[in-house]
């Protein structure tokens, strides 16, 4: 399995993928504080002073709010596009049979790929955090930001869940759109449930009240959505393995 993780790793760094990967996460890291800083200026230019003063001073919290808006959207979508054909590409091109024919376990392929994607997402997420953090402490007072590590970890896990779901969808349907489609459906369901049925177990609630959490350190229960996410991730891994084990190649 180690050998296959290394292959996935090489697939990032020996192809052009690493470039897209780093550009996306570094650029997003810069965009967060940049957008936070420039938005009031743009509003002032467009609408005049009275409006902009209503928004108040820009603070470190605004910079991180941009992070929570951009990284799970553009960052995650970009990442999903990169890995959405992770299984189907190998099955369609036929690169995998050679290794299964050497005795590599089918299960190992699934686990290696998920582990490699998890590592890459972790690295990308940390890069964005790092860049945003450096700008934030340069321009503003970071010490006013509350609960940041937990909030960041929550969105990290949330995104990881969708990486797993995309992988499962891709494994089952053998198509790029299948993976992205399954993620889309799950996301819509979670948003729907979060809007109409208030539940502390819904992973999407990790996006609720971020502003309040960062600014006022309000009480927030993280453990329930974390547990839901971990349970769903285990389900994804199990289903992917079960399905792939019974797949004719």
């Amino acid at each position: 399995m180690k050998s296959f993780i290394k292959k996935e790793w090489d697939q990032y760094f020996l192809t052009n993928r690493w470039l897209i990967f780093f550009v996306i996460f570094i650029a997003l890291g810069i965009m967060n504080p940049f957008t936070a800083k420039i938005t009031p200026v743009l509003i002032e230019n467009m609408m005049g002073d009275e409006f902009s003063s209503a928004f108040g001073e820009v603070t470190a919290v605004d910079s991180w709010l941009q992070f929570f808006k951009n990284v799970p959207q553009l960052g995650l979508i970009g990442f999903l596009l990169m890995m959405a054909n992770s299984m189907s590409k190998e099955l369609q091109e036929g690169t995998l049979p050679i290794f299964l024919a050497k005795g590599l376990k089918r299960k190992s392929v699934i686990l290696a790929k998920l582990l490699a994607h998890t590592m890459m997402w972790t690295i990308g997420y940390l890069i964005s955090i790092g860049v945003t953090y450096l700008y934030t402490i340069y321009y503003w007072d970071q010490s006013i930001v509350q609960q940041l590590p937990l909030a960041l970890f929550g969105i990290y896990l949330f995104a990881l869940l969708f990486i797993f779901i995309t992988f499962l969808g891709n494994t089952i349907t053998n198509s790029t759109m299948g993976g992205l489609g399954l993620s889309g459906i799950v996301l819509i369901v979670l948003i729907f449930l979060n809007t109409f049925f208030d539940s502390k177990w819904n992973p999407f609630m990790l996006f609720n009240e971020i502003n309040e959490r960062l600014l006022n350190d309000i009480a927030f229960s993280y453990s329930e959505p974390f547990l839901t996410i971990i349970a769903l991730m285990i389900l994804c891994v199990t289903f992917a393995i079960l399905h792939f084990n019974k797949r004719a190649i």
Binding site: V23, A27, F34, K37, V41, Y135
Partner: protein, 70 residues
């Protein structure tokens, strides 16, 4: 606040963004010229897309336009 001050204040953003944007565009264009086979479209189209659609253009090229054995 005059324009120069504004510019200086935003330089820490602008410099890395510009480096990233043009670095990526140049890298993509060199790749497009060196590997003249594409999943779809032609050389001129991809060069224009990479040059004028900042960030998105080169990424589109590497994800969807780049030929398989390139």
């Amino acid at each position: 606040m005059n324009n120069l001050d504004t510019l200086v204040e935003y330089l820490p953003f602008l410099i890395p963004l510009i480096i990233l944007q043009y670095g990526l565009a140049i890298y993509a264009i060199v790749h497009i010229i060196k590997h003249p086979n594409y999943k779809f479209g032609n050389q001129v189209m991809w060069i224009i897309i990479s040059l004028f659609l900042s960030f998105i253009g080169p990424i589109l090229y590497f994800m969807f336009g780049k030929g398989d054995d390139a």
